[in-house]
C-alpha cells in the first residue's frame, strides 16, 4: 500500500492488495449501501441510541429506579418526573431507561444461545446427511410445529417464571429456524470444490464443519438472528406481560406494561410508555435487519 493514496481511493481500489483491505472494502461498501437505504439507516441509528441509553443508563436516569414514594404515586408527566410515576411512586422515565438494559440483555443472550445452537445442529445435519440429518431435522420439525410464543409459554410454565428461565424458553423456541437455514446453506457449500480440496488434505469432519462450513453460514445466520431479535423482544415482553418473565421490582418493559394495565383508565401513560419503548426497539431491529439482509445478501436486493 502506497503512502500517497488517500483513504478513499484505498477503499475504492478495484483489486484489494491484502485481506485486511478486502475486508475494509466490504465494510465500506456495506456502509454505502446502508447510507442509501434510509429505513435501514434509521434502524441503525435507533439501535445505536438504544445501546447508548443502556450503556449510559446511570447518567441518563433522573431518579433511583427502586426508590419508592407512596405520596407521589400515579403522577402525570411533569418537570420532576418526565414520564410520570407508577403505582409505587417510582420514576417511569428512569425505569424505562434502565429497562433497555434488560431488553437488550434478554435479546442478546437469547440470540447468543439460539444462534450457535442452530448453527451447530444445522451444519452438522447438512454436512453429515443420512440418519443424522433425518433425526436432527425431524427434531427441528417438531419444534417448528409450535408457534414460538406458545412454545415459550409452555417452557416457561414448566421452568417457572423469571428472567433466566424466560431467556432459556425463548432460546429453545428460536433455534429451529436457524438450524434449518444453516442446513440449507450447508447443502450448497458442501458440494463446492474447496470443501472437496480440504477433505482431500485429510481434514476431519469435525474440522471441516467448524472451520470451513460454519464460517460460510455465519453471514446469513446473523441476518436471520437480527430479524429474529424483534420477535424475541416481543415474546419476552409478552411473557413479562403475563407475569412469567422478569420479576418485580425489575423495570422490564413487559412487566411495567402489565402493571400499567391495572391503571390504564386513570393513568394510561404507565402502560403506553413501556409499550412505545418495546415498539421502537423491535422496529429498530426489524429495520436494521432488513437493511442488513439487503447489504449482505444482494440476491434479495
Amino acid at each position: 500500500m502506497s503512502a500517497s493514496t488517500s483513504l478513499g481511493s484505498w477503499l475504492r481500489a478495484p483489486i484489494p492488495a491484502s485481506p485486511f483491505q478486502a475486508r475494509m472494502q466490504a465494510l465500506w461498501l456495506g456502509w454505502r449501501r446502508l447510507r442509501s437505504n434510509p429505513p435501514a439507516l434509521a434502524g441503525a441509528i435507533l439501535l445505536l441510541l438504544l445501546l447508548a441509553t443502556a450503556t449510559f443508563a446511570p447518567l441518563i436516569a433522573t431518579h433511583d429506579i427502586l426508590a419508592q414514594d407512596l405520596t407521589v404515586r400515579l403522577q402525570k408527566p411533569s418537570s420532576t418526573h418526565w414520564l410520570g410515576t407508577d403505582d409505587l411512586g417510582r420514576d417511569i422515565f428512569s425505569r424505562v431507561v434502565y429497562g433497555s438494559r434488560i431488553t437488550l440483555y434478554i435479546a442478546f443472550l437469547a440470540a447468543l444461545i439460539a444462534a450457535p445452537l442452530g448453527l451447530i445442529i444445522g451444519t452438522t445435519a447438512g454436512y453429515l446427511g443420512g440418519w443424522a440429518d433425518t433425526i436432527l431435522m425431524r427434531l427441528v420439525d417438531i419444534f417448528l410445529s409450535f408457534p414460538s410464543l406458545i412454545l415459550a409459554l409452555a417452557f416457561v410454565a414448566a421452568l417457572g417464571p423469571g428472567i433466566e428461565n424466560a431467556i432459556i424458553a425463548i432460546s429453545l423456541a428460536a433455534w429451529p429456524p436457524i438450524a434449518r437455514l444453516a442446513r440449507a446453506e450447508t447443502l450448497t457449500v458442501r458440494k463446492s470444490d474447496y470443501i472437496a480440496a480440504v477433505r482431500m488434505q485429510g481434514a476431519s469432519r469435525m474440522r471441516i464443519i467448524v472451520h470451513h462450513v460454519m464460517p460460510m453460514c455465519i453471514p446469513s445466520v446473523i441476518v436471520r438472528i437480527t430479524l429474529n431479535m424483534a420477535a424475541i423482544i416481543l415474546t419476552a415482553a409478552g411473557l413479562g406481560f403475563l407475569g412469567l418473565g422478569a420479576q418485580p421490582p425489575s423495570p422490564e418493559w413487559g412487566a411495567m406494561l402489565s402493571t400499567g394495565r391495572q391503571f390504564v383508565m386513570n393513568a394510561w401513560w404507565i402502560a403506553a410508555i413501556p409499550g412505545c419503548a418495546i415498539l421502537l426497539t423491535s422496529l429498530a431491529f426489524n429495520l436494521f435487519g432488513d437493511g442488513l439482509r439487503d447489504i449482505m445478501d444482494p440476491r434479495h436486493g
Binding site: 434510509p38 429505513p39 431435522m137 425431524r138 427434531l139 420439525d141 417438531i142 419444534f143 417448528l144 410445529s145 409450535f146 408457534p147 414460538s148 410464543l149 406458545i150 412454545l151 409459554l153 409452555a154 417452557f155 410454565a157 414448566a158 421452568l159 417457572g160 429456524p177 434449518r180 437455514l181 442446513r183 440449507a184 436471520r224 430479524l227 429474529n228 424483534a230 420477535a231 416481543l234 415482553a237 409478552g238 406481560f241 403475563l242 407475569g243 412469567l244 413487559g254 406494561l257 394495565r261 390504564v264 383508565m265 394510561w268 402502560a271 403506553a272 409499550g275 418495546i278 415498539l279 423491535s282 422496529l283 431491529f285 426489524n286 429495520l287 432488513d290 434479495h300
Partner: protein, 355 residues
C-alpha cells in the same frame, strides 16, 4: 409472529420434495407425520412433567389434608414410573382423551371444542381484513418499487411486525371504547343479547345473520372489529411483504416488458398478468398467516376478555392446569402440522413449477 421462519418452512416442510412418484411421496408423508406427531407427544409430555405446579393442590385446594392429597396422587397415576405415565398419556391421546381440565372439571377436548369457535371467528375476520388490505398494498409496493409508496408499505409492514399486539389492544380499548365509544367493549357480545342467539355454528356473526337478527349482528360486529383489526395488522404485514417480493420476481420477467411494449397500461400489466402468476403463492402465504393469527390470538384474547382458545390457554397457564396447557399445546402443534401440509399440497397441486 416471526416472518423469517415462515418461508423457510416450505423449503423442507413435512413432505420431502424431489421424489418421483406420488405414492412414494404419500408414504413418506404419512410416516413423517406419524413421527412428528409422536415427537409432539413426547415434547408435550416432557413439558407437562416438568411443570413445578402440583396438580393435586390445584384440585384439592389450599386446605386439604395430606391423606386426601396422597389418595388423589394415586388416582391420577402420579405415583407410577415415568415411562408408564407416558404410555398412558399416548394411549389416552390416541383415544382422543386429553384428560380432565383441573380448572373446569370437564374434559380438555370438550373445553377446547367449546372455546374454539370464538377464536376461529376472530381469526377469520382478522384474516379477511389482513388479506383485503395486505395484497393490494404488497402489489402496489412492488409496482412502484423504491418510491414513497414502497417505503410506506414496507415501514407500515415492519410496524406490524414490531408492535406488541397486547399493548395495541389495550390502547385501542382505552381510545375507541372508553373514550370515543366507537366500538363494543371486551367480550363477544353485550350481556343483554347473550341469550338471544340460537347457537348453530357458535360463530356469532354467522348465527345472527342466518337468523336475521341484524341488531345483534351489529352488536357482535362492534365487539369483534377492534381485536380482529389488531390481529389483522400482523397478518397484513406478512401478507403485504411476501406479496411484494413475489411480485418483484414476476415484474423482472421478460413477459412484463413484452406486455409493456404491446402498449398495455402498467396497472393492467401488474394486476392481470403478473399477479395471476403469483396468486398460488399468495394463497399459501395467507394460509400460513392464518395459522399465525392463532398464535397472536393468545395475548389479544387476554386483553379483550375474548372467550376463546388463547384465553383458555393463558388461564390454564396461570392457574397451573397441566392437562389443559399440555392439551392446548399439543392441539396447536397438530393444527400447525396440518396447515403446513395443506400449504405444501396446495403448492404441489397448483404451482406450475413443481408440477
Amino acid at each position: 409472529m416471526a416472518e423469517a421462519a415462515v418461508p423457510a418452512r416450505r423449503t423442507g416442510g413435512v413432505a420431502a420434495p424431489g421424489l418421483p412418484s406420488w405414492s412414494g411421496t404419500a408414504l413418506r408423508v404419512v410416516v413423517s407425520i406419524a413421527v412428528t406427531l409422536f415427537g409432539l407427544m413426547a415434547l408435550t409430555f416432557f413439558i407437562g412433567r416438568m411443570l413445578p405446579l402440583d396438580p393435586v393442590t390445584a384440585i384439592l385446594g389450599d386446605n386439604a389434608t395430606q391423606e386426601a392429597i396422597d389418595a388423589m396422587r394415586a388416582q391420577l397415576g402420579l405415583d407410577q414410573p415415568l415411562w408408564i405415565q407416558f404410555g398412558r398419556y399416548v394411549g389416552d391421546i390416541l383415544r382422543l382423551d386429553l384428560g380432565t381440565a383441573l380448572t373446569t372439571g370437564k374434559p380438555v377436548l370438550d373445553d377446547i371444542a367449546r372455546v374454539f369457535p370464538a377464536t376461529i371467528e376472530l381469526a377469520t375476520v382478522g384474516i379477511v381484513i389482513g388479506t383485503a388490505l395486505g395484497i393490494p398494498l404488497g402489489v402496489m409496493a412492488a409496482a412502484y418499487r423504491d418510491t414513497p409508496v414502497d417505503y410506506f408499505v414496507r415501514v407500515f409492514g415492519l410496524l406490524g411486525y414490531s408492535t406488541p399486539n397486547f399493548w395495541l389492544g389495550l390502547m385501542g380499548l382505552v381510545l375507541f371504547y372508553a373514550t370515543l365509544g366507537w366500538v363494543g367493549g371486551p367480550g363477544r357480545i353485550d350481556t343483554a343479547f347473550q341469550w338471544d342467539v340460537e347457537p348453530v355454528t357458535d360463530l356469532l356473526l354467522l348465527d345472527t345473520a342466518m337468523a336475521g337478527q341484524w341488531e345483534i349482528f351489529r352488536n357482535v360486529l362492534s365487539h369483534i372489529i377492534l381485536p380482529a383489526s389488531i390481529l389483522a395488522f400482523g397478518a397484513l404485514a406478512y401478507i403485504s411483504r411476501m406479496t411484494r417480493s413475489f411480485m418483484l420476481e414476476q415484474l423482472s420477467q421478460e413477459y412484463v416488458v413484452a406486455a409493456r411494449v404491446k402498449g398495455l397500461s402498467w396497472m393492467r400489466t401488474v394486476w392481470v398478468h403478473a399477479f395471476r402468476n403469483v396468486a398460488v403463492q399468495v394463497v399459501t402465504v395467507v394460509a400460513l398467516a392464518y395459522a399465525f393469527l392463532l398464535e397472536g390470538a393468545v395475548l389479544t384474547e387476554t386483553v379483550f376478555a375474548w372467550p376463546g382458545f388463547g384465553r383458555y390457554l393463558t388461564n390454564a397457564l396461570l392457574a397451573g392446569d397441566m392437562n389443559a396447557v399440555v392439551g392446548c399445546t399439543l392441539l396447536i402443534g397438530i393444527i400447525f402440522v396440518a396447515l403446513n401440509l395443506l400449504t405444501d399440497l396446495l403448492y404441489r397441486l397448483f404451482d406450475p413449477r413443481t408440477r
